[in-house]
């Protein structure tokens, strides 16, 4: 890893503009109110595009690790600064690039929403917070961005707050994220207690001096934070409900960017807290594998197109987590998969949004079918995204997912095979989505007249699908991304070689093909019933999100409620007694002391005189001690 150098001036020194543009735009749109309704969405689109331009300019600068100090709040303790290095620039490009496309798409998608300006304000707020998260040069500011994206996510999931389900989902996301944030906070406290600073540079440099136990503890705490934000087991339950938000939100926040913040955190802290072979890293890989399977299984049973995709998001982030736990060999694949996933998953979500737009916001795939002829652009772009995610050879997902599976296989065969099985399930559930939506027979309601979406929505789809085709190969072949990220995250001892027909790769392809074939038999060639059949125990298991909510309810909610009642009881009887007693005591003494203030000047003079006498006496006593 390269050392971090102070930097100011030039393009790098102006990198704060990346955050400033969307933040200013959000402020203008929120404070400006209805006056900005007419042009609010244009400003909202301009901001991330401007940030994207700044990000590209930073990217074109000579590569290095630059620390741009912005503001010293409390010298030596709380500082605001940006770390511009290959890792953060990569993220900034993804956030602003894909973010811009999704903003543009939203112009069309939200065209008929009376609150479109507010929507763009929140989206801008999200982009600003997310950029702050990835550009921060210390954990404290990272946490600021972390909470900022949490807030934006809450606001956007509940954007249609008149729907009780949306309001509840927003609350659920918020509460579950609090659990993760709490872990993160404890991690932050431990970091500060151990290293005396939050800054990345000193913390990473001195990590080797801290004890193993401390490092593992910090690692696990950060992982809890990462699990909350990235919807990893056991804090995954909020993501499926988060699909209540408008579809561009699902694409931007709950697929392409925010949910990958956990991966960013693990990779960023990797050298210090998640080194290869450490306990914390092992836990990261276990969490990753468990989630990639759980998400995939959930994805197989969902009839709601967005929820199926959300399960898939969980699963794909599981892959990234798995890779991030494998040390420097895995980092580049984690980030590469994160980038390609950002493209193809945004493509899929926006495609789903386009379908919903055409189908009067119907999300149930059992009411779709045979849309490929009516929505050719959406179909082709969606299909490309589909091929990319299942790892069809030479498309993006093929290179990045295969890299993760190979690295996992090298590290531990069990992890590797579980990842292969996950890929097979991916082949099944994604094929199911495509077949149910675009193939088969028409199953629409009578008043639905599907049509292709306007070009402001299809162009982003086209661009995203182009990325879904080529980005993976570009990043992985000749290890481009790995070499580029090397200065920021470290390089493995030997650069991996890409084998087009490795045994693992072939096995993966075979399983994916098998999954797709099963899906064709059940959902492509056969008639899809409009009402979901009861299904086996396993189907129910998957439909109920692997009983995640039931588990949470039994394990956490009920005991939590008991604990709350106990706490309330204790609070009423114990704490309040003390607090109220204290307050009454202070208030009472205030009332009594007040009586001394008689308003008579003679008593004031007496007070001065007595005070003077006491002062003289005291001084005299102290002086003669």
């Amino acid at each position: 890893m390269e050392p971090i150098v102070e930097h100011s001036g030039g393009v790098i020194g102006a990198s704060w503009l990346m955050i400033a543009f969307p933040l200013a735009s959000a402020a203008i749109l929120l404070l400006g109110g209805r006056r900005t309704n007419a042009w609010g969405h244009l400003l909202g689109v301009f901001a991330p595009v401007a940030s994207f331009v700044v990000a590209v300019m930073c990217f074109l600068q000579p590569s290095g690790r630059y620390d741009v100090g912005l503001y010293d709040f409390i010298p030596g303790v709380a500082k605001v600064g940006l770390l511009i290095d290959p890792l953060s620039i990569t993220f900034a490009l993804l956030i602003t690039g894909v973010g811009s496309l999704i903003h543009i798409y939203s112009i069309g998608y939200m065209a008929h929403d009376p609150e479109r300006r507010r929507f763009f304000a929140y989206l801008n707020l999200f982009v600003a917070a997310m950029l702050l998260l990835v550009l921060a040069d210390n954990y404290l500011v990272l946490f600021l961005g972390w909470e900022g994206v949490g807030l934006a996510s809450y606001l956007l999931i509940g954007f249609w707050q008149f729907k009780p389900t949306a309001a509840t989902a927003a609350k659920k996301a918020f509460v579950v994220n609090r659990v993760g944030d709490f872990g993160f906070l404890v991690g932050l406290f431990t970091i500060f207690a151990t290293f005396g600073t939050f800054a990345f540079g000193p913390v990473f440099d001195n990590a080797a001096k801290a004890s193993n136990g401390t490092l593992t503890a910090i690692g696990i705490m950060l992982l809890i934070g990462a699990c909350g934000k990235s919807a990893q087991l056991p804090l995954q339950s909020w993501l499926l409900d988060a699909m209540e938000g408008p579809t561009p939100v699902s694409a931007l926040i709950h697929a392409a960017t925010m949910v990958t913040a956990g991966v960013y955190l693990v990779v960023r802290s990797g050298a210090a807290f998640f080194p290869e072979g450490a306990t914390a890293s092992l836990i990261v890989t276990i969490v990753g594998v468990a989630t990639l399977l759980a998400g995939a299984i959930i994805g197989t049973a969902k009839d709601d197109i967005k929820k199926a995709l959300a399960g898939s998001t969980m699963s794909q982030i599981g892959y990234m987590m798995l890779a991030a736990g494998l040390g420097p060999a895995g980092y580049a694949f984690a980030i590469a998969h994160l980038l390609t996933h950002g493209f193809f998953k945004a493509d899929l979500f926006l495609g789903a949004g386009s379908v919903m737009h055409a189908m009067k916001d119907e999300v149930n795939m059992r009411r779709y079918g045979a849309l490929r002829a009516l929505m050719p652009v959406t179909f082709i772009t969606f299909f490309i995204g589909y091929l990319a995610i299942i790892g069809f050879p030479l498309l993006s997902g093929y290179f990045t997912k295969d890299g993760i599976i190979e690295t996992a296989m090298d590290s531990n065969a069990i992890l590797g095979w579980l990842a292969v099985i996950g890929a097979g399930i991916t082949g099944f559930y994604m094929s199911r989505v495509v077949f149910m939506t675009f193939f088969g027979s028409k199953r629409w309601a009578d008043d639905v007249h599907p049509h292709e979406s306007p070009s402001v929505m299809t162009w982003p789809l086209i661009i995203l699908s182009i990325g879904s085709i080529f980005l993976g190969g570009y990043l992985i072949l000749s290890n481009r991304l790995m070499v580029y990220l090397g200065p920021a995250v470290g390089l493995p001892e030997a650069l991996p070689q890409f084998h087009p027909f490795s045994p693992t790769g072939l096995a993966t392809l075979a399983l994916v093909a098998l999954g797709a074939a099963i899906a064709w038999v059940r959902y492509g060639s056969a008639e899809v019933p409009q009402v979901a059949p009861r299904g086996s125990f396993l189907t129910t298991f998957a439909r109920r999100d692997l009983y995640g909510d039931a588990l949470n309810e039994a394990l956490l909610m009920r005991p939590g409620q008991w604990l709350t009642r106990l706490a309330v009881w204790f609070d009423n009887k114990g704490v309040d007694g003390v607090v109220n007693g204290l307050a009454a005591g202070i208030g009472g003494s205030s009332g009594r002391l007040r009586r001394i203030q008689t308003g008579f000047v003679r008593s004031y003079a007496l007070s001065i005189f007595v005070g003077a006498a006491v002062l003289v006496g005291a001084w005299y006593v102290v002086g003669n001690l």
Binding site: I586, G587, S590, R594, Q597, V601, Y604, I608, L615, Y620
Partner: protein, 514 residues
Amino acid sequence: MTDTITAPTIEYLLLSPLLVVFGAAIVGVLVEAFAPRYLRAAFQVPLTLLSLVAAFALVIFVVVKDGVPNKAAAMGAVAADGPALFIWGTILLLAFVSVLLIGDDFVPSAVAVPGSVEEERAVSEGAAHTEVYPLVLFAVGGMLLFAASNDLLVMFVALEVMSLPLYMLCGLARRRRLLSQEAAMKYFLLGAFSSAFFLYGTALLYGYAGSIDLSKISTSLSSVGGQDSLLFIGAAVLGVGLFFKIGAVPFQMWKPDVYQGAPTPITALMASGTLVAAFGALLRVFWVALGNLEWDWSPVVWAVAILTMVVGAILAITQTDIKRMLAYSSIAHAGFILTAVVATAGAKQNSLALSGILFYLVAYGLTTVGAFGVVTMVRDPGGEAWHLSRWAGLGKRSPKLAMVLAFFLLAMAGIPLTSGFFAKYAVFSAAVSGGAVALVVVGVVASAIAAFFYVRVIVLMFFSDPAADGPSIVMPIATRGVVGFAALATVVLGVFPQPVLDLASKAAQSLFVR
């Protein structure tokens, strides 16, 4: 043997800020005497403001020209050093914004009964007490000199020059005139009482050291023996006079009555300028003259600081009048500053603490002027609406004003991203590094108690329903400017405190001239 009288050397440039203010005050008196009535206001207001600006510019000019001076000017009578110049700049700034607050709230004619025929006639003639302006200038000149005097007699004269105009100004409120006159009378009686203490202390210290020069008193501490009673009693009695001016407990009782009764712009001037000047003088006496006596006075100041913080915070809780509440808050803040005074006891003259105090004075002064500026804007038919119940629901009636006041109150409570946070951080961290941890614990507890009554006002403004016949909001342009400026300063000092902290620390490094 022939005694030749040598003409005293006067460093006119160094003293020019003082001279400008006093000169303008005298011109102001002449204007009162000779200009026709209808012309006076047109003269006085620009004269006052311009002289304050000119004096401020001269302070900057002195520093820019020769760097931070560190010498006793005018034959050792006036100290011209970093802290003095910093305090001068602060007082002049605070005086400028306070003068802008002076609107129509003064009696048109001292003898007229409010609402009487005489008053109406006086108002219709355009009569106004324009002598308010020269009086303010004299008071400001006194403040400048008070904080910079280098011997006890000059300090006493400065104290009187500062106080006498203030006594009068306190009694000139146009509305609630009895309350105002009562406040002036009380302030005068108690001020005279405390001045006597000050003078008595001066005499005793002269008896001990044979000099009234602060630095000579300091050197005599190590050379004179066997006169300790004179020294201790003298120092304590002198301290009473100074503690009275900053409103430390148990010498605080005048503060709520006077702050309440005085016309609000004058309250703003007293709560900011007088406090700054009094702390300047206090530091000078305790550090320059009694610096080697730290072991004796620091326990006493400990006790006074604790009492001041606790009593100020506790008594503020039950106040129902916003001006009285702000007065008690000012008492508590004097206690907070005293923690840094205590902690810096020591011959090494901890410049960290000194800079903390200087920063605190700027930050608190501006916030206070802003808060009192808001008070002048909320009016009932009979004058300003002081009772807190009248402020209920202000957040709904006038959200901007309520938000600004809420912001000032949060700054006083010391919430981060306001100037108050850094001010408290500066004095408390100085106190900790000076070893006064217990004092800081008390200070933090007192801050927590104080936060209660600040936040209570915010709750009242934003979470209560406005009364049907609520007060009206009057926003004169100058007052609006002052409040806006104070709010801006509170934000800037809370977000980018470094330039002012640097300035304070540069001033503090020059230390007091001995």
